[in-house]
């Protein structure tokens, strides 16, 4: 099933590290814009903590950091070789 394909082996746009960096800079920019929007737009919130500046931003960011770090620590206890049950 695996085969060499003439068309797909040329250098792609994403193969160049500087292009990957460009995407990341766009992400940084978008993050900044949307946090600033938070300060400008009038927002309605149900809970008081929702009204804190950039609540969703830092909740999303630290939520994911905690998620990944905790999951990584879980590996120490839970990870077994692939053929563990075989």
């Amino acid at each position: 099933m695996l085969m060499r394909d003439k068309h797909s082996d040329g250098k792609r746009w994403l193969d160049r590290p500087e292009n990957v960096n460009r995407i990341i800079y766009v992400l940084f920019g978008a993050c900044a814009v949307f946090v600033l929007l938070d300060l400008v737009l009038p927002r309605h919130s149900t809970f008081f903590f929702e009204a804190w500046p950039g609540f969703y931003a830092w909740f999303g960011f630290f939520g994911c950091v905690v998620l990944v770090v905790a999951a990584k620590l879980m590996r120490r206890a839970l990870m077994r070789p692939e053929d563990y049950y075989d």
């Binding site: 099933m1 695996l2 085969m3 060499r4 394909d5 797909s8 082996d9 792609r12 994403l14 193969d15 990341i24 992400l27 940084f28 978008a30 993050c31 949307f34 946090v35 929007l37 938070d38 737009l41 927002r43 309605h44 919130s45 149900t46 809970f47 929702e50 950039g54 969703y56 931003a57 830092w58 909740f59 999303g60 960011f61 630290f62 939520g63 994911c64 950091v65 998620l67 990944v68 770090v69 905790a70 999951a71 990584k72 879980m74 590996r75 206890a77 839970l78 990870m79 077994r80 070789p81 692939e82 053929d83 563990y84 049950y85 075989d86």
Partner: protein
């Protein structure tokens, strides 16, 4: 068409027909059955139909109302998409199992009483296990067996509860229930197993990734969503479901981060999505029920789409493991695109399906002041984006180039994925198409400045976290591994425990046996002593001695007589 007949019958008839057909006729039947079923469903009158009197109980095989109609409807649409996705497959067993599973799920969604529900409930389990066994490996056989046992247990609990309930109330009607009696708890637990409640969840992650390429998509479409329907019908507003659902959204995502098999990542992610729906059912308000139902419909679409894209990868490369894949966008650009639509939908990006349904559940939780549950759901939303939205497409199609070059997925698979991707965007852009079919009138407005801006913030900063963790090397690499989950209990602990008990009992038997041996020796020795040669009871004695004894006895008798 017979008036009042369940559309499930059309699927079963198709399943009977399939083994006799090859090539084009089979393809036409596979695609035609779901369309015929849907046409029949929509022609049915919104009332109880197909009622049967059975042993003093009234069984209703077809109940049409808003709740059953939307589930039966989406099951038909899913069946059509799955037929399209599996058109290239040359395996009668899989086609038959697919049609029976779909038919049984539709029959169950339309069931008006618990006995009919039970019959179809068990049938979904029995039919769908063949989609796991169809992989025809020892591993899939064992996984299928575990799956079947657990699913049967769910059905038996339902039957047990239904019988008790019938004795208590004299009716087997499937309607709103209250937790409190043994009967309702048994039914609740039966639903809970199929819905993959925490601690009852592990059959899902264990079995789904072991099924065939198309089988996993079929499994992921019907079983668990049927359980959501059953909870919404039987236990709407049961507050116990709120913490259960919140827990379900949160804990599987940790596993999803470290799991290597991308189809298993999706199985954990499915568990997380079910959690949102369970919370919605538990909240029980009109908006919450609408949210749960809408999310179930969307989940069938976008989760199906993700499973389909990973199925295509598995078909073309022979593996779905993150550690082996990467750079596939070069070989499979269409599949990559469809996967990204699925990823955006499940992550609830504005203009994609998840955005218009998940928001409803969060809004319903906020409305009732459940601030902690709301925070858990928000955390889970960020987590969904992290493992389903980023991890799945990133490790399969981007990341480092694995050097794998393969063909694009077969055209029928691309057509199925394209169709679902279109539906995901349609619902995201024009949510009224979905909202109109929900059980309650919808007052919720998804596209407000607040919702759009906050959701984009959440997603952007989750992506930022992923990027920074990746760049700094903190992000755990994809490793060939097995992660221990609850299935360890019955796959390792119990068998090993049993082996240990066996060894101990062997030792115990040895001791007991030895003691018994000694005792037997003593008994034998005594018997030998009494009966053996020269034994007291084995001596031969002359007749005279016997006469003497008779005389003695006579004297004794006479003596006693004269006394």
């Amino acid at each position: 068409m017979i008036e009042g007949m369940t559309p499930a019958a059309i699927f079963f008839a198709g399943a009977v027909l399939i083994p006799f057909l090859r090539d084009w006729p089979r393809k036409i039947v596979l695609l035609g059955i779901p369309m015929l079923g849907l046409a029949h469903l929509l022609a049915l009158n919104p009332m109880d139909a197909g009622a049967i009197e059975f042993l003093d109980y009234r069984l209703v095989t077809v109940r049409i109302d808003a709740l059953s109609l939307i589930f039966a409807g989406i099951f038909h649409i899913a069946a059509f998409i799955l037929a399209l996705y599996s058109l290239h497959v040359r395996d009668t067993m899989q086609h038959v199992a697919m049609l029976v599973t779909a038919g049984a799920a539709i029959g169950a969604a339309l069931a008006g009483d618990l006995i009919t529900l039970f019959v179809f409930w068990e049938l979904t389990a029995i039919a769908s296990v063949f989609l796991i066994w169809a992989r025809r490996t020892e591993r899939s056989y064992a996984a299928g067996m575990r799956y079947l046992l657990i699913q049967m247990a769910s059905g038996l609990l339902l039957l047990f509860g239904a019988i008790l309930l019938a004795r208590e109330t004299g009716s087997v009607e499937f309607t709103q229930m209250q937790l409190g009696s043994v009967a309702t708890w048994a039914i609740f637990l039966g639903f809970g197993i199929k819905c993959a409640f925490p601690l009852l969840h592990n059959w899902l992650q264990d079995a789904y990734p072991e099924a065939t390429v198309t089988g996993t998509v079929v499994l992921g479409s019907f079983t668990t969503k049927l359980a959501i329907y059953a909870l919404a019908r039987g236990f709407a507003g049961e507050s116990l479901l709120i913490p259960i659902g919140a827990l379900m959204t949160a804990f599987p995502i940790f596993y999803a981060v470290i799991e290597n098999d991308l189809r298993r990542v999706l199985a954990y992610s499915l568990n997380n999505q079910l959690g949102f729906m369970v919370v919605g059912v538990g909240l029980g308000t009109d908006m919450a029920i609408n949210g749960a139902v809408a999310h179930a419909v969307n989940n069938i679409l976008f989760k199906g789409l993700l499973f389909m894209s990973m199925g295509a990868v598995l078909l073309r490369t022979g593996t779905a493991k993150g550690s082996e894949l990467g750079g596939l966008y070069k070989s499979m650009p269409w599949t990559t695109g469809f996967c990204l639509v699925g990823a955006a939908s499940i992550s609830a990006f504005p203009l994609f399906a998840g955005f218009v349904s998940k928001g409803m559940i969060l809004a319903a939780a906020a409305e009732q002041g459940h601030w902690f549950v709301w925070l858990v759901l928000l955390f889970a939303s960020a987590g969904v984006f992290h493992h389903s939205g980023i991890k799945i497409p990133y490790f399969a199609f981007f990341a480092h180039d694995s050097g794998i070059r393969c063909r694009e997925a077969p055209v029928n698979m691309l057509a199925a994925m394209g169709l679902v991707a279109g539906l995901c965007i349609l619902i995201g852009v024009y949510p009224d198409a979905l909202y109109r079919m929900l059980p309650h009138a919808v007052s919720y407005v998804p596209y407000t400045v607040d919702h759009v801006v906050t959701q984009i913030q959440l997603l952007l900063f989750s992506a930022l976290a992923f990027t920074l963790l990746m760049r700094t090397g903190v992000y755990p690499p994809e490793l060939r591994s097995t992660n221990l989950d609850l299935d360890w209990l019955y796959r390792r602990f119990v068998p090993r425990g049993a082996a240990l008990v066996e060894r101990w009992s062997d030792a115990l038997f040895a001791i007991v046996g030895h003691a018994g041996d000694m005792m037997m020796r003593r008994v034998l020795h005594l018997v030998f002593h009494l009966h053996g040669p020269q034994g007291v009871l084995a001596r031969t004695s002359p007749i005279g001695v016997a006469l003497l004894w008779v005389a003695v006895l006579l004297v004794a008798a006479l003596f006693l007589y004269y006394l």
